[in-house]
């Protein structure tokens, strides 16, 4: 139902396409923007334009980046021998927050999902293989999601990389810190038991 003047309705429609924004919220945001001073509104418009203009994928690791190389790939202090393979650029942020990892990353831009027709060819697998030798990588950490697609991806990459004589590791699975044992599902708890460690 179109009740607003053309440009306002266009704005509402565009906002309504954003994730998590329903028609009602779109309307609310649109009216907020209408009320805003022109400068403030244009700053938002400009930020979007700049992002779309300048941000691309890093040519090495496929993280989002301003320019051909992302900040992590261009940082000389990072360990070049270890690469952490993740599904999405957002996963890099999650791993970075831990402060436990000092190597570089490789973003696959997805995970294997046969039912959706996504196989290795649709992911940045060839690009990963091409990095191994020139960068002198000797450990690959498979840091894909611990769900069925992520596991399938890790298995596939493991099978591909192992014969190359590299150290291939998979991130551990287990119980989240601060949780209750009784709510853990069998798979997670099973994995946690399997991956138990001796106390020192």
């Amino acid at each position: 139902m179109t009740v607003y003047a053309g440009p306002v309705q266009d704005l509402i429609d565009e906002l309504g396409r954003l994730p998590g924004v329903g028609p009602k919220s779109a309307q609310r945001i649109a009216f907020h923007l209408l009320k805003l001073p022109k400068d403030d509104a244009l700053r938002l418009a400009n930020a979007i334009a700049v992002v779309k203009d300048r941000v691309t994928f890093c040519h090495t690791c496929f993280n989002i980046s301003e320019g051909e190389r992302c900040g992590i790939c261009g940082d000389p202090r990072r360990d070049t021998h270890v690469v952490c393979v993740v599904e999405e650029p957002r996963d890099i942020v999650a791993v970075e927050k831990t402060g436990e990892f000092k190597g570089r990353y490789h973003v696959l831009q997805g995970a294997i999902s046969p039912i959706e027709g996504i196989g290795p060819d649709q992911l940045r697998v060839k690009e990963l293989l091409a990095r191994l030798e020139p960068e002198g990588i000797d450990e690959v950490i498979l840091c894909t999601n611990p769900n069925i697609e992520g596991e399938a991806t890790a298995m596939y990459l493991g099978r591909l990389l192992k014969p190359l004589g590299l150290k291939v590791t998979r991130i551990a699975s287990g119980l989240p810190v601060g949780g209750d044992l009784e709510y853990a599902d069998e798979l997670t708890l099973g994995r946690a038991l399997e991956g138990r460690r001796e106390l020192d």
């Binding site: 027709g117 069925i148 798979l187």
Partner: protein, 241 residues
Amino acid sequence: MSRGTLHRDEAVVLRTYKLGEADRIVVLLTRGRGKVRAVAKGVRKTKSKFGGRLEPTSHVAVQLYEGRELDIVTQAETIDRFRAVREDLDRFARASAMLETADQLAQEGEVNPRLHQMLVGALRTLDASDSPLVVPAFFWKVLALEGYRPEVDACVQCGADDVSLVAFDLDAGGLLCRTCRRGQSVSPEAVALLQMILGGRLNEALAVPPSPATHEVDHLATRAVEHHLERRLRSVTVLDH
């Protein structure tokens, strides 16, 4: 069916879609209500109560709250984990082909307990054995369930059952003798396997080791399913290398 009621059912998770920030829509093949789409809230969070229970291939007991468009999963408990399927890439790919087929065949709102039962059975078999004929047998059996049971005991054209059958035609829906032959040619070993699968000797067929004939039956089954669905199965080719 009335809204706002709770249902308990048994289901296999066919596939999932991301929804919003941390939710997923899970497509379930339930025993009591056919294909159902339901929202699993917060399932992508690490501390979700569902954990890994609502992933494709999982066989679960669920409690669903009936919503306006989509149901909501309120509880889920594992019945079968299918560990070997999850931890073996090749079996996972094969399981995916079965899930994709079940997803394509099942219609929402159409109760089909037999399909559910066959899928659970096939997944259990795949989890326990590495027989090359699990998936093709499932394909042939569901086609038969759908009313497309191929003729494998006599020539589908002339009805002769005392001659050797040498070809399979998808349009005719069965095997053909030398005189009527058209479509794809099949070996005598493959014919024997087809007769085992569709003639109530499934266990015998599942015990057969991989051979060119099992490969033939597999290929033919995939083509027959694709012919029936009128679309390609994505899962089949994705991991072929």
